[in-house]
C-alpha cells in the first residue's frame, strides 16, 4: 500500500483527474511551468500541455470568474488561489457568482468547479498569509467546502470535488503538506459530506479539522494516559456538514469541545455548538467549549504565533474543563 505525502496526494488527484477526463483543466498563478508555489503541481504542465494547465496573471477575480464561465460551458475547471488568504480578493466571484449561479438562473446550469487554496498558520508568514478560510465561505450556500486532514482524504476528497457537479472549495493545510500516510491504490473519489471518527472515545467529543485535528489526536493521546477518553472527529466536510456523526458521538460522551484554527466570531465552531445546543441539548452534561484564536490575529513573532493557534496544551485544558465543570 503506497505511502505518500499530503502534497503528493494533491498532485496525484489532479493527475488522475486530468488523465481520465479531457474536460478537466487546471489554472492559477505559477501552477504550470513552475509547478506551484508550494511545489504541489510539478509535471502537470509538461504532461497535459499549455491548453489544459495554465499560468494566469495575478488576477484572482478573473481566475474565479473564468473558472465559473468555463464550468457552465462544458469544462470541469480546477482553479488555484494559492493562499486562502486571497479568498477575500475574489470573494465577489465566489459568493455572489459561483455560489448563486445555478440558483438564480432557476437551475439552468451545473457548475462543476473546484477551487483549491492553501491555508493555515504556524509558518511565520504573518497576518495576511496564515488564515483559514472555511468560515468565510460557509455563509454562502451554493458552494461546498471540504478540508482534508490526511493524504488519503486529500486524494479522495479532491477527486470527489472535481467529479462533483457543484462548486467545491478544497482547502489544503500548509502545515500538512509534508505529512505522510497510506493512500491505497484503489482509493476512489470520495463522497463529500461525511465526517470521520479518527479516534473513538467515551468521555468527550472533540471536533476539529486539519492541523487542529492532528493536535487534538495528540491531546487525546496524552489525555488517555490520564484516563480521559476522547472521541476525535475530523469534520472533513464543512458544507455539507455531517451532523449525524457529531450528534451520535455527543449522545455517547455528553461533552463537546470544538477546536478551530480561526477567530471565534462567526466561525464554524458556532455551528457545531449551535447544533449541540439544539438537537443535542439534552445530552449536554457540561458547557460546550470552543478553543480558537478568540479575537486575536496571527502575529509574525514566533512566540505569539505559537500561542494564538490552539495547541495541545490548550486543547487538553479545554477537555479537562468540560469534564470538571459539571
Amino acid at each position: 500500500m503506497p505511502e505518500m505525502t499530503y502534497r503528493e496526494a494533491v498532485a496525484k488527484a489532479l493527475t488522475d483527474e486530468l488523465a481520465s477526463d479531457p474536460d478537466v483543466i487546471f489554472f492559477g498563478e505559477d501552477v504550470a511551468e513552475a509547478g506551484g508555489v508550494f511545489k504541489v503541481t510539478p509535471g502537470l504542465y509538461e504532461r497535459f500541455g499549455p491548453d489544459r494547465v495554465r499560468d494566469t496573471p495575478i488576477s484572482e477575480q478573473a481566475i474565479i470568474g473564468t473558472a465559473l464561465g468555463a464550468a457552465i460551458t462544458g469544462l470541469r475547471p480546477v482553479a488555484e488561489l494559492m493562499f486562502a488568504d486571497f479568498v477575500p480578493v475574489a470573494l465577489d466571484q465566489l459568493a455572489n457568482q459561483v455560489a448563486k449561479y445555478r440558483y438564480m438562473s432557476g437551475g439552468q446550469f451545473v457548475v462543476p468547479l473546484t477551487v483549491r487554496a492553501a491555508q493555515g498558520g504556524g509558518n511565520g508568514f504573518g497576518t495576511q498569509h496564515s488564515q483559514c478560510a472555511e468560515s468565510w465561505l460557509m455563509n454562502f450556500p451554493g458552494i461546498k467546502v471540504v478540508s482534508p486532514s490526511t493524504p488519503v482524504d486529500m486524494y479522495g476528497l479532491l477527486r470527489g470535488a472535481i467529479r462533483e457537479n457543484n462548486p467545491v472549495f478544497v482547502l489544503e493545510h500548509k502545515g500538512l503538506y509534508n505529512m505522510k500516510g497510506e493512500v491505497p491504490d484503489d482509493t476512489a473519489p470520495m463522497k463529500l459530506g461525511e465526517s470521520k471518527v479518527m479516534r473513538e472515545g467515551t468521555d468527550v467529543t472533540v471536533v476539529a479539522s486539519q492541523l487542529m485535528m492532528h493536535r487534538s489526536l495528540e491531546a487525546a493521546e496524552q489525555l488517555a494516559r490520564e484516563d480521559i477518553s476522547c472521541e476525535v472527529i475530523d469534520v472533513r466536510s464543512f458544507v455539507p456538514l455531517d451532523k449525524a456523526t457529531i450528534l451520535h458521538s455527543l449522545a455517547k460522551t455528553n461533552h463537546l469541545v470544538v477546536v478551530e484554527e480561526a477567530p471565534h466570531q462567526a466561525g464554524w465552531g458556532g455551528d457545531i455548538a449551535s447544533l449541540a445546543a439544539d438537537e443535542g441539548v439534552y445530552w449536554l452534561a457540561a458547557p460546550v467549549k470552543r478553543v480558537n484564536m478568540g479575537a486575536a490575529l496571527i502575529a509574525y513573532s514566533p512566540p505569539l504565533e505559537d500561542e494564538v493557534l490552539p495547541n495541545v496544551g490548550r486543547i487538553m485544558r479545554a477537555v479537562k474543563s468540560v469534564l470538571t465543570d459539571a
Partner: protein, 323 residues
C-alpha cells in the same frame, strides 16, 4: 464602411428593436403600477447595440450582460413570455422566477446570465471563451458592460487575461454617458473607453451605438478576428439611455436638451429610415410591425399574469445540483 444586412435580417432587427422598446415601456408601466416588485433598469435607447451584436453572432456563441439586459435577452431570442413571466416572478419565467429583472438568463440561446454586480460578468464570459478555445468550437464569447463598469477591477483583470490568453472574446461597452446618476466625466478621466484597449495591446474600436448595422459591422469584424485565433477586442458603442438609471429615477442630472438631441438619432428611426430609403419598408408596413409587436407584448403580459408562482419548495431546489 457599414455593412448593409440583407432585407430579412433588417426586418428582424427592426422587429426586435420595436418589441424590445415596447416591452420595456410596458415593464416600466407594470412597475409603476406596483404589479411588479423590485427594480428594473431599462435599455430604451440602446436597442441597436443588442440587435447589431446579435446579428453578428452564431449558434454556440455565448453572452454575459448586466442588470440592464432586457434588450440583449430579446435580441438573442428570449421569448417575450419567458421575460414577462420572469419579471413577475412566475414559475414559467426564464429563470423560474428566481432571477428577476436583473438576471435574465437563457442558456438555450447562449445567454449565460445578466449580472447585478458591476463588472462581474466580464470574467465569467472569459470562461466561456476559454471553453471555446480549449474545445476549438469556433465560438466566441461576448460580454456587455457600461462605461461606468470600466472603472472596476474586474474589467481590468478580464481584459488583461483575455489578451494574454488570446481568448475569442469581445468586450462591448455600452457607453450611455451615465453610471447611475454620475456623468462619465466625473468618474472617468478618458474621453473614450476604447482607448483602454491600449493597456492590453487590444484593438479598441468606437462605433455609433444607435446604428444597428454599424454595430453589426464592427462586431462581425472583431468576431471574425477572434474566431481566427487573433484575440479579443474592445468595442465601445456610443449610446444613450432615454430613461433614468432604474425604476424611480427621473434623471434630473441630465444636461438640458441632451435627451432631445439623442432622440433625433433613435436607433429604430435610423434603421427604419434606411429601409424606407432602400424601398424595403413603408409607413404602413412599419405601423403593422409596431402593432404586431404591441400585441405580442400584451399577449406576453397577459399570459404571464395567468401563470402560477413557483411552489414554496422551489426555494430549496437548485441551491445545489442533486445527482
Amino acid at each position: 464602411m457599414i455593412t448593409s444586412l440583407p432585407i430579412e435580417r433588417r426586418q428582424q432587427a427592426l422587429r426586435l428593436m420595436i418589441e424590445t422598446r415596447l416591452a420595456e415601456e410596458k415593464i416600466q408601466e407594470l412597475f409603476l403600477a406596483n404589479l411588479i416588485r423590485g427594480t428594473t433598469h431599462l435599455a430604451i435607447g440602446h436597442e441597436a447595440v443588442a440587435v447589431g451584436t446579435a446579428a453578428a453572432l452564431i449558434t454556440g456563441d455565448k453572452v454575459t450582460c448586466t442588470y440592464r439586459g432586457h434588450h440583449h435577452a430579446l435580441a438573442l431570442g428570449m421569448s417575450l413570455r419567458a421575460m414577462m413571466g420572469e419579471m413577475m416572478g412566475k414559475e414559467a419565467g426564464a429563470c423560474k422566477g428566481k432571477g428577476g429583472s436583473m438576471h435574465m438568463t437563457d442558456a438555450s440561446i447562449g445567454l449565460l446570465g445578466a449580472n447585478a454586480i458591476v463588472g462581474a460578468q466580464l470574467p465569467i464570459a472569459m470562461g466561456a471563451a476559454l471553453t471555446a478555445q480549449v474545445k476549438k468550437t469556433g465560438g466566441i464569447a461576448v460580454t456587455f458592460f457600461g462605461e461606468g463598469a470600466s472603472n472596476i477591477g474586474a474589467f481590468h483583470e478580464a481584459l488583461n487575461m483575455a489578451s494574454v490568453w488570446k481568448l475569442p472574446a469581445l468586450f462591448i461597452c455600452e457607453n450611455n454617458l451615465y453610471g447611475e446618476y454620475s456623468v462619465w466625466s466625473k468618474t472617468t478621466p478618458v474621453q473614450d473607453i476604447a482607448v483602454r484597449g491600449t493597456s492590453y495591446a487590444m484593438p479598441g474600436v468606437i462605433v455609433d451605438g444607435q446604428d444597428a448595422e454599424a454595430v453589426y459591422t464592427v462586431v462581425k469584424a472583431a468576431g471574425d478576428r477572434a474566431r481566427a485565433g487573433e484575440g479579443p477586442s474592445l468595442i465601445e458603442c456610443k449610446t444613450y439611455r432615454y430613461r433614468g438609471h432604474s425604476r424611480t429615477d427621473t434623471a434630473p442630472y441630465r444636461k438640458q436638451g441632451e435627451l432631445d438631441e439623442w432622440l433625433k438619432r433613435d436607433p429604430i428611426d435610423i434603421l427604419k429610415a434606411r429601409m424606407i430609403a432602400d424601398s424595403q419598408l413603408d409607413e404602413v408596413e412599419f405601423a403593422e410591425m409596431r402593432q404586431a409587436a404591441e400585441m405580442a407584448v400584451v399577449d406576453a403580459v397577459e399570459w404571464a399574469k395567468q401563470q402560477p408562482y413557483p411552489p414554496v419548495e422551489a426555494l430549496y431546489a437548485d441551491v445545489y445540483y442533486e445527482g
